[in-house]
Every structure is written in structure tokens, then in C-alpha cells.
Amino acid sequence: MASRQQRRDRLIFLVPSMTVLAVILVYPLAYSLGLSFYNYYLPVPRTTFVGLENFRFILADDAFWEALGVTARFTGAAVAIEVVLGIAVALLLDARIPCRRFVNTVVLLPMAITPAVAGLLMRWMFESNWGLVNYFLGLAGVRGPGWTGDPAWALWSIILADVWQNTPFVILVVYAGLQSVPVEPLEAAMVDGASRAQTLAHVVFPFLRPLVLFVLIIRSMDAFRIFDQVFVMTGGGPGTTTQTITFYNYVMAFRQLRMGRASALGVITLLILSLVIGAWIYLLYRREKGEW
């Protein structure tokens, strides 16, 4: 159906980019799928076909379920805090404030920082002896916990670090949304004598809804595969209390050197992620079909 012109354009413009994508992403993906059916221990240069054995192993593996739980708790807590806090700060920024450009820039800064370096900064903040979080808690009369070294608090250190780094993304999107709230309904609400709270609840929030859903999905996807900050802040510890799925996958592949098994874990992660995200998108967008 495509015209000659279009076919030629496709070859010139689209094919180079798609070739890179295919070679770098699609081919290794296929390789990984294949490898997940093999037993491949890196030091032994021989692979043996084991069928679904790797999958069976992982599904019976306590560490896998623990990592899944850690990842779910991390994602749930971090994203929930970020969305609520982000909306609140975006509303604050929307008020008439002095030095708006400076404030906006500063508030967005953390999201641009190298995640590994952000993790480092946060490790210093949460250091239990001379870290500033505990110092300020001390000033408020609270004896701070051991944070990254305390099994009960280590995950919270990473959650709070993630909140520091990624709340700006929520702020950014919601703030951008607030700038484009249509004027007419706002004026109508004002004329009708609606309070600020009523205007927010009945005019602004319904308008923001799709944006918030978008942010929720993007943030969940990113939080689900967190690695850099875990690597830098806790290394998955103490014990395995902050070992997320991605981190466990890394351990399996590059410390235990179980390449086939690690591939299987990757495939399982992909399946879980597709299912969860798919179901979520379906549920969230069901009511506003076509409103992508």
C-alpha cells in the first residue's frame, strides 16, 4: 500500500535506527530467552539444556520471593510518598511566589543527578554517627535509628533517598499540568463563590487525573527496577533486607555466575512487570478510553 516514495523514505530514515534497536535490544532479548532454558555456570565453558529447571528453581527459591517482596514494598512506599508529596509541592509552586525561576530550578535539581552519586550523597545523609539526618533528629530530641545498617530501617533509607531524587519528576509533570488548567472553569468556579478547596477538588484535580496516572505508571516502572542506589547505599544488605529483584538478578549473574538461571529470573521479571503494568494501565485507563 505504501507508495514508492514512502518505501524509499522508510529505508533512508527509519531502517538505520530500527537496525540498531534490533541488533542491540531484540537480538540479546532472544538470546536471553534461549539461555533461560540452559544450565550455564560461567566458569564451566559448557551449556546443557535443562528445560524449565531454571524457572522451577527460582519459583521455589525463598530469596526470589523475598526480593519480590522487597521490590513491591519499595515501589509501593516510594511511589505513594512521591505522588502525594509531588502534588503538594506542585500546588505550592503554583502560588504566587518570589524568585520563581530559582525555586523551580532548585526543586527539580535532584532528578538530574547521577543516581549512583545521589545514592552516595544519601549514604552520607543517613550515616548513623555523623550523618545529618540523625543530627537533625537529635536536635528535635529523637534518637535516630542506624538507617542503612539497621535491617528494620535500611529499606526506608533507600525509599527516602528515592523520594529525594524522584519527587521532582512528579512535581515537574503536575506543575506543568497546573499551568495548562483551562481558565474558563476556574473563573466560573470563582464567580460561583467556590472556596479554594472546592475549586481544587472539582476543577483542578479532575483535570490533573490523567497526568497523575501517567506519572504513577512511569514512576512505578522505574522504581520497580531500582538498582544504582541499592548498590551504593546498602549493597542489598544488611543480610538481604534491601535486595531488590534487579539486585538479586545482578548477584545471581555476576557473583554466583549462574548465567542461565539469571536469564530465567530476568524473563520472570519481565513477565511480572508486563502483567502488573498491563493490568494497571487497563484498570486506570478503562474509564477514559482513547485518552492517552
Binding site: Q5, L121, V173
Partner: protein, 281 residues
């Protein structure tokens, strides 16, 4: 309206609370960076005390050490090669693909566009094992080109979605007129359309730069002594001696400086770039 309400005590109070809250947000955002900066400038004995030393005699010793007596300049060089290489590979490819995807409409093109979005959700760790094995077999392990290819590929969806938004704003008649005047399809793109979307290319390039600059996981596994970038070097920097903390603070500040500059420059373009260009649909 503002003038009338300034006098009302309740409004003044509300205003004060808003400012106070914003002040807290600004302080929390900046504090870790401020802390890294001051730590890098403190004598080590002043750096790790309780209560913290707020007033101190600054020293550039740690910065001098990290940039003159460790391999950090080498890591900086690697970071620069990787980031610049990624931009040079990724942006032309992404622009061309985006141009095609903005110019033509069809069902398969829609599907392709949304499949590209799925790359963002992709568990990257899944590709780490094949990358590692293939890289070793192809003798590409610990080379810049390997990292550049990988980051450029992962960056394609971003570059394509962002640039497509800009190309959609270009009237279709523009390249068509150029082609009637005898330009080839590619010449029309290169000489007529591309100059119009230059701000978009600039935004895409800077964000691609940032993306490559911040990459960690793939660099951690796929580079060794030859191609290791700053992000990995700083994370692996040892902590056996207390001085290491001062040194890593100096290293961290060195890595942060370009980012702070970036944010200051990009203020206007932040929304478009950081939201993956998807808001526009």
C-alpha cells in the same frame, strides 16, 4: 484582588505557611549537595564530627588529590567519550526515524510508536547477561563503542518521541516544496526541515548527554580498567580510610558540577525532555 487581601490576617498566615513550606522543600533539595560540597572543602578532621562543623577553613586539597593523583581524569575522559559518542550516534538516528514517523501515518506506525514506549519499562537487567556474554565473545568487553551502542539504542525511544513532537509542528508543505524544487527526500530533511527544529535537536542532545552521563548498571558490568566512566568509579571508590570519604566527596562534587550547570541552562526545556515527550502524545 491581591492588594485587597494582603491585610487580612488569615491570608497573611496562609502566605507565610506556603513560603515556609517552600523554604523547607528548597532546603531539603539542596542540603545533600551542599553537604557534599562542604565536605569536599573541609579538612578531614573537620568533616566527620558531631555536631557538624559549620564554619571551617576551606581547602582544595581533596580536589587536587582526586584530579591529580588518582585515575579520575581517565574516568572523566571515558565519560566524555561515552556521552559524546552516544549523542553523535543516537541523535542523527533518532531524528531521522522521528521524521519518518511524523510524516507518515498508519496502523503499523502507531504500533511501533507504542512498542518503543515499552522499552522504557523494560527490565534492563534481562539484557545484561547476553550483553556480557556477547561482548566477551566479540572482544568488545571494556570498550567505549560497546557502551555507546547500548546507551544509544536505549535512548532511541526517547529521541524519537521527543523529536517526533517537534517534527509534527513542521508544515508538511515545507519538505514537499523543497522536493518539487529538486531536492531529494534526504536533502529536504537535512537542509529544510532540520534547521526549523534546531531547538528540539538541542534539547534532545542535552538530555541524551545527561542520560549517558548518568548510566550506571551497564557500565558497571561491561567496563573494566579501560572504559570505566565516572559514575562507576565513584561508586567503587573504597572506604578503608577516613580520607576516602573526603576524596569521594570531592569526586562527587566534580561529577555534580556539570549537572547543576545543565539544569541551569535547561530550565526552560525541562518539561519536554524529562517527561519523555509523552505528554504531547
Amino acid at each position: 484582588m491581591v492588594n485587597r487581601s494582603v491585610g487580612a490576617p488569615r491570608v497573611v498566615l496562609a502566605r507565610a505557611l506556603v513560603y515556609l513550606a517552600l523554604l523547607a522543600v528548597v532546603a531539603v533539595s539542596l542540603f545533600p549537595i551542599y553537604f557534599a560540597l562542604t565536605t569536599s572543602l573541609k579538612q578531614t578532621r573537620d568533616a566527620f564530627t558531631t555536631p557538624p562543623t559549620w564554619i571551617f577553613t576551606p581547602t582544595l586539597e581533596h580536589h587536587r588529590f582526586i584530579w591529580l593523583e588518582t585515575p579520575f581524569p581517565r574516568y572523566l575522559f571515558n565519560t566524555l567519550v561515552i556521552t559524546i559518542g552516544t549523542v553523535l550516534l543516537s541523535i542523527p538516528l533518532g531524528c531521522m526515524a522521528a521524521y519518518y514517523l511524523a510524516r507518515y501515518r498508519s496502523r503499523p506506525i502507531q504500533v511501533l510508536l507504542f512498542s518503543l514506549l515499552a522499552v522504557r519499562a523494560f527490565p534492563r537487567i534481562l539484557l545484561l547477561v547476553p550483553f556480557f556474554l556477547v561482548a566477551r565473545a566479540a572482544q568488545l568487553y571494556d570498550t567505549h563503542i560497546l557502551i555507546i551502542l547500548i546507551i544509544a539504542a536505549f535512548n532511541q525511544p526517547f529521541a524519537i518521541w521527543l523529536m517526533r513532537g517537534f517534527f509534527l509542528d513542521v508544515p508538511r508543505e515545507l519538505p514537499e516544496a523543497a522536493m518539487i524544487d529538486g531536492c531529494s527526500s534526504f536533502q529536504a530533511f537535512r537542509r529544510v526541515v532540520l534547521p526549523v527544529v534546531r531547538p528540539g535537536v538541542f534539547t534532545a542532545a542535552l538530555f541524551t548527554f545527561l542520560f549517558a552521563y548518568n548510566e550506571f548498571l551497564y557500565c558497571l558490568i561491561l567496563t573494566g580498567s579501560d572504559a570505566k566512566p565516572l559514575s562507576v568509579a565513584i561508586a567503587q571508590y573504597g572506604a578503608e580510610k577516613i580520607e576516602y570519604w573526603s576524596w569521594s566527596a570531592a569526586g562527587a562534587v566534580g561529577i555534580l558540577a556539570p549537572i547543576v550547570l545543565f539544569i541551569a541552562v535547561m530550565q526552560r526545556h525541562l518539561v519536554k525532555g524529562l517527561t519523555f515527550g509523552t505528554l504531547k502524545g
